[in-house]
Symmetry: C2
Subunit: 481 residues, 2 copies
């Protein structure tokens, strides 16, 4: 049986952000499947085996339980991160692939220090405690803390537009919510996260002494969400914290009634860089070992939680791909490599080390698949690639949709993953595992990102989806390099 | 803009149950979309508004919070069910549709009585308490309870095949798990639930004195799942309970080591039938009021929990469809009817009363959409219909896929819902809201089916999906009656 699909398509997109619109582009598609010789049946049979194994024999949930325990709070440079490197190395060693090794990289080492104290100070000195977490890479306030009046803004631009006299000496409170109207929560995140990443720098330029950011979630709850900030000018660094969305609502209400100050005390700091590692397992191909198919996630996670969804799930799913294909007695034609990247959260040092070495050595990654959107029910893959080869390559993999559709998987255009983005110049295809994302930002970068938030079957189905795509890529390759 | 889609398709199906196979049928599809006059853009714009309203203005999560509280444990015939009728009637009255009324139906009134006591009794009289729930419609053991040796089986057929001497006087333990290899958990449920529904009758025929059934879930945990049983012979009724899957595993292990008896004491009973109601809200169409589009769920739920997913979600989503379309200033051409059915769980009296009256009055339901698979992320709709019209009707609605796809919605062949199944003879289309079903049987028929298990956005997206399909059905109708 052979698939012949000819098509010309323009992907439909849901309009971004806050404006109400939907642009539908024309779709012309002629799709013909002709049964010829049984290959498609073989593929369907093997994929069914992948799924059945994933749902009954996979270690991925058990690994994740361990990883979120031994590697609890495994921010790059921490002892927990080192323990996570050891643990996953050991587990990969049990899988019987050709080699497992550590790729060194020097990572930043940010530590949170003592529990943050953040309080609203009302006229008359009444105080209200806020649920807060310092932002990653933030400096501390010093042990005495700081107190300053608060000014609320909704955007970086708003800060830029304010007279310096209004901002100077104040704590700037960024309170633009993630847009709940977005269907894709990652789009809502993308539309709000600039406040967390650049808010401190932009406020510092105007003389602010500190920053408070509304947590990045569509939920209204009491859970603060940390995440990284970037100081754009090393001489203008001010301390920054995230507060829960309920506290952000309260603070905003109070500001409508009276002047409000905030006391914040954080003792976070950046220690000297540490040696750390990407963990890599390689299963060499029998026919085309020079064509690499990568599966990966990032091993580091924020220090306050288990990193179960972000991104323990992506790590154990990538490990699980090797395990399942081994269990099924598969012999890859091409080289399958599982890479657990270090320091995605606050530096991307591991990803960069990997792709710089790979590009420098003129390796060819036929494809790379990253899972970093949580261990939720898979919906398919987003794909991107080099402009010179992408269309042809995507057309090829799009032929496999009939094999993916029974599992609720669809292919669409979109980003892949931060850690693999630098492999694009090798002109293979880059994929991101696409999952149901409605719940992701309930847990992202929090103390509640724990194993109990991950559903075992949903995790396993993601492993199966990745193993399926690896199988098809390995068997059929791509036409264009 | 106009859609012209010509296609001939055979739906792919994943093979059922325990054998490893996948049959892929040939797919021939030619799909052409041609932009002509803006209608599709209008539709896309309106659908986008539906989604934005659902995610920001819908009352459905708030209603569900109330319904799971005032109507906690709202099994048909109970005071909680009466309270749920009152509450939803009141809420529907606020929506400004043409009329809201109660359709009477006499429902069975089963009560659980005192907390079940179910214990393993080991040689030497040592006992182990089991987490158990009596099955709905079961008789009680009498206040003294019963004690009998246990025999484990895996199927109804196995009981049928056993000599009466082996079964007589025993408690039969049905322990065939839901098949974890099924991707669709409803298929796994369908493959195991005969033990719960018919197990007591089949065991009674062989002289058994009681039945213990492994709970219907793929999870291994401590939560027992109730659900209805059917006594096939009113003179051969024996008491039946479900135990948690962890307890089922333990019991099975113990039976491998020694003889095991079970003591069970249940005081459940069936009281005289009660008067109850379907709750119906109608918004009459301006152009074709005789063509009815129904949205619905069932209002009753098991007595031990909040019935948040099963089926409070379906009820509030159906109510939410009216609310959203009202908020958007929509004026339906056809009649939109929201129906909250009573007694789906242990009798289907409400559903039957509705369709018998409707068929008897020669009403025409152009379409009926039931949501009864939990308030999870929507994936589309399953559709069925009368053999004489289904193909043509389905072909028509399949043209709308390009409008649904941006929201991750797809149409596929499949069942609709128990409460609307009797409307098929009206030759319209019957739909079931299709959702991500991996987590449903973590909560189904349990004490943990509470509001906290429902994600607000996922619930709202289901409301939007239903409102979208209602909008398209109302605007374009169907070609065939």
């Amino acid at each position: 049986m052979q698939l012949n699909i000819s098509f010309l398509f323009l992907q439909k997109k849901i309009g971004q952000a806050s404006r109400i619109y939907l642009s539908i582009l024309c779709v012309f598609m002629t799709l013909t499947l002709s049964a010829q010789n049984g290959t498609e049946e073989e593929d369907a049979f093997f994929i069914r085996q992948i799924y059945q194994n994933a749902l009954t024999q996979s270690s991925c949930y058990s690994w994740l339980t361990d990883l979120t325990t031994v590697g609890f709070g495994r921010l790059a440079g921490s002892p927990a991160a080192a323990a996570a490197v050891d643990y996953t190395h050991k587990m990969l060693d049990t899988l019987g692939v050709d080699s497992v090794w550590l790729q060194p990289c020097r990572v930043p080492h940010w530590v949170r220090g003592e529990k943050e104290q953040v309080r609203i100070v009302l006229p008359g000195k009444k105080t209200v405690e806020l649920k807060a977490l310092a932002l990653g890479n933030s400096i501390g306030t010093g042990s005495g803390g700081i107190t300053a009046p608060v000014i609320e803004v909704k955007s970086l631009d708003e800060v830029d537009s304010l007279p310096e006299a209004l901002v100077s000496g104040k704590i700037v409170f960024y309170n633009r919510p993630m847009d709940p109207r977005q269907i894709n929560t990652f789009a809502a995140y993308g539309g709000a996260v600039d406040q967390r990443v650049y808010g401190a720098s932009r406020a510092a330029k105007k003389g602010a002494v500190g920053v408070v950011v509304r947590s990045m979630t569509t939920l209204l709850d009491d859970v603060p969400h940390t995440g990284t900030l970037n100081y754009q000018d090393p001489d203008q660094r001010i301390p920054a914290v995230a507060i829960s969305t309920n506290d952000a609502e309260m603070l905003s209400d109070l500001l409508k009634q009276s002047e409000v100050s905030i006391y914040m005390r954080t003792t976070c700091e950046t220690l000297p860089d540490e040696e750390s590692y990407n963990v890599i397992a390689e299963w060499r191909g029998t026919e085309k070992p020079g064509e690499i198919i990568l599966v990966g996630g990032h091993l580091d996670a924020w220090d306050v939680g288990g990193g179960a969804h972000d991104d323990g799930s992506g790590c154990v799913q990538s490990m699980g791909v090797l395990e399942i294909l081994k269990q099924l007695g598969y012999h890859p034609k091409r080289t399958i490599r599982c890479v657990l990247f270090m320091n995605e959260e606050n530096g991307l040092v591991g990803g960069r080390a990997y792709w710089e070495a790979s590009n420098g050595n003129e390796e060819f990654h036929l494809a790379a698949i990253e899972s970093d959107r949580g261990g939720f029910s898979p919906r398919g893959f987003t794909a991107e690639g080099h402009a010179s080869t992408f269309q042809q390559n995507y057309k090829k993999v799009y032929q496999w949709e009939p094999l993916l559709e029974p599992y609720g998987l669809h292919l669409r255009l979109g980003g892949s993953g931060a850690d693999i983005s630098g492999l694009k110049e090798q002109k293979g295809l880059l994929f991101g595992l696409d999952v149901d994302n409605q719940r992701y930002f309930d847990f992202h970068h929090t103390a509640v990102d724990l194993i109990g938030a991950v559903n075992k079957r949903e995790l396993e189905l993601g492993t199966a989806a990745m193993a399926t795509l690896v199988y098809l890529l390995d068997k059929y390759g791509l036409d264009e390099k």
